[in-house]
Symmetry: C2
Subunit: 347 residues, 2 copies
């Protein structure tokens, strides 16, 4: 699906007043995975400071205090880079958005709130001849899944997890990056708003009507079907009380040949839930079983998220995960993802 | 959800050109479960023929060839009674809809296509002072599932299937009817447009954004949580390439205590798919396994759909199903559902 042209993006990330690793998760994700396309971060309280000292990424990208300053750096997109409490765009941000439009920038919005339905901002965009892209507002998709993902030339790899919010997007992006560095022909398929904003195309599946989730991802996978390796961003968890519908539609629509299981050893209950996280072994068994009637798929590796654990405990967790699953185990931030790329790209 | 007043309905079911038990599933369902509220079926190719000889139900309801004829029978609602692949209203039907509005009928639409967003038809409704009810146009639901269905006073029973379109709604309705006839306190929870149209309330889950499917059904189940038996209409199939997202969201949102497995022995591949139907045993194992992390649930009975089979073959199929599963087996149209009610209501 058309987003905005990714090849010519010169993004200014708007985080004004919300620049930290949790609230500005979108900005941090973009800084990490498309740094060369970002010309500035707009955050008045931190203007002039070093980005990497605040969010541990983004070295070299200046923090500016105004749209005027971003314009001098030739920004052509203003990307809303934080999710604030309440979900409504704060008043100072509305001013930045109006100024950005007037200065000739397009707006990229990953919030639930649709800026195209905001009469004032929509009018400002129209007057400026600029576009607002509401990333979470997918077009009316009406394609039903039909197992056509099986026809891709390349191998399909999906990241799955024992819970939501534990690194499935990051892992798919890290695998893609490592494969490209090895000269392999790999493509990332985003399925959530941050992933979509990272590559400038795709569909946020959680906003798609349930009948068409598998059809929507099938279409996205086929669009990059000629790549040798197709890395699909996972969503939710197969037994999450709230989000399992998205997860299964994604699994049956993308029909992965291989899966990477993401797991956070320190997490006891699933997010937004008092339900215990199931074991890696159970999740592997269930995931392979629910795919088997449509496609033979194997979990071939494990990625741990050891956030908050010390190095010793994290190393111990990796050893345990390997002992339990018999699979190669990585930690994106401590070991790199090389061992998983070895497995995925073996002949 | 508010629908239209069911007590004064005089429905004309529009099936024109699509009158068979599969495509006109909505019409057939209404003929079976609210026959006294239907005054005509509009189907030109079959006008004047006997309805029961074509779809095995609806004896006494005339098949007419025009809105004019339906008007003479005092129809006050035109109900779109067939579901086409893709969900777009065929051109000849638009003419019927315009004539019905002009003749003073409301329109009831269970297709994905929203007639209220069709400029021409919306204008025609406005001009006539009549209403279009887009049954599949749910309010903006934003509730995420949280396993609260577990708190109902009564037992939750869900119909599941080895495929879509093989009798899950019918079975839930038949069980509800039989229970009520036995004086039991049972409530039916519709989850599809036909079920919603049948009882005049509820949510068509396949039209709900995927993040909120389990939350939507959780709310519907809790709304009848005081009934002793809560019979939830199943949707899709857990391994259907197109519809599994709806199925799993429904399972995790309703958290059934017991499930009834619906199966069509003569069907080799799943609907709209070349994928083989899996065995009853596999589906029972998968369904119980995918629920287990959230709720202990058992398949307690089997309902066969022996459409197109002769009585001997159907009896043989029942014997085989019992031998394979060890569960009571019924056929709604050949044996009645008594044995399943016995199992569900045992103390």
């Amino acid at each position: 699906m058309a987003g905005m042209n990714a090849t010519q993006r010169r993004m200014c990330l708007l985080t004004d007043g919300f620049l930290d690793v949790f609230t500005a998760k979108t900005a941090v994700g973009l800084l990490r995975y498309c740094p060369t396309e970002i010309v500035a971060v707009l955050d008045k309280p931190n203007a002039g400071k070093k980005l990497e000292e605040i969010v541990a990424t983004g070295a070299g990208v200046p923090i500016v205090d105004s749209i005027a300053a971003a314009t001098r750096l030739h920004a052509n997109q203003l990307v809303l880079g934080a999710a604030f409490p309440g979900g409504q765009v704060p008043a100072p941000w509305r001013q930045h958005i109006r100024e950005a439009l007037a200065a000739g920038m397009d707006i990229v919005n990953g919030l639930h709130q649709r800026l195209n339905e905001d009469a004032e901002l929509a009018a400002a965009a129209k007057a400026a001849g600029k576009r607002i892209w509401d990333v979470r507002n997918p077009p009316a998709l009406t394609k039903v899944g039909t197992c056509k993902a099986r026809t891709t030339k390349g191998k399909r790899i999906l990241t799955i997890g024992t819970d939501c919010n534990l690194g499935k997007r990051v892992m798919a992006l890290e695998l893609t990056r490592e494969m490209k560095q090895r000269g392999l022909n790999a493509e990332f398929v985003p399925t959530g708003q941050t992933g979509v904003m990272t590559v400038g195309r795709g569909v946020a599946l959680d906003a798609v009507v349930s009948d068409f989730v598998s059809g929507a991802i099938e279409e996205q996978v086929l669009a990059v079907g000629d790549a040798d390796y197709i890395l699909v961003e996972g969503q939710g968890a197969l037994v999450h009380p709230g989000f399992s519908a998205v997860t299964l539609g994604l699994m049956h629509g993308s029909l992965p040949d291989e899966m990477i299981l993401c797991h956070a050893p320190a997490r006891k209950t699933m997010r937004s839930s008092s339900t215990p996280v199931i074991s890696m072994g159970e999740m592997i068994t269930l995931s392979e079983a629910i795919l088997r009637p449509l496609h033979h798929s194997k979990v071939v590796g494990v990625a741990l998220n050891c956030h908050g654990m010390n190095d010793d405990d994290a190393a111990k967790a990796r050893d345990e995960a390997h002992a339990v699953t018999g699979l190669p185990v990585v930690d994106a931030f401590k070991t790199g993802v090389g061992p998983l790329v070895d497995v995925i790209s073996r002949r």
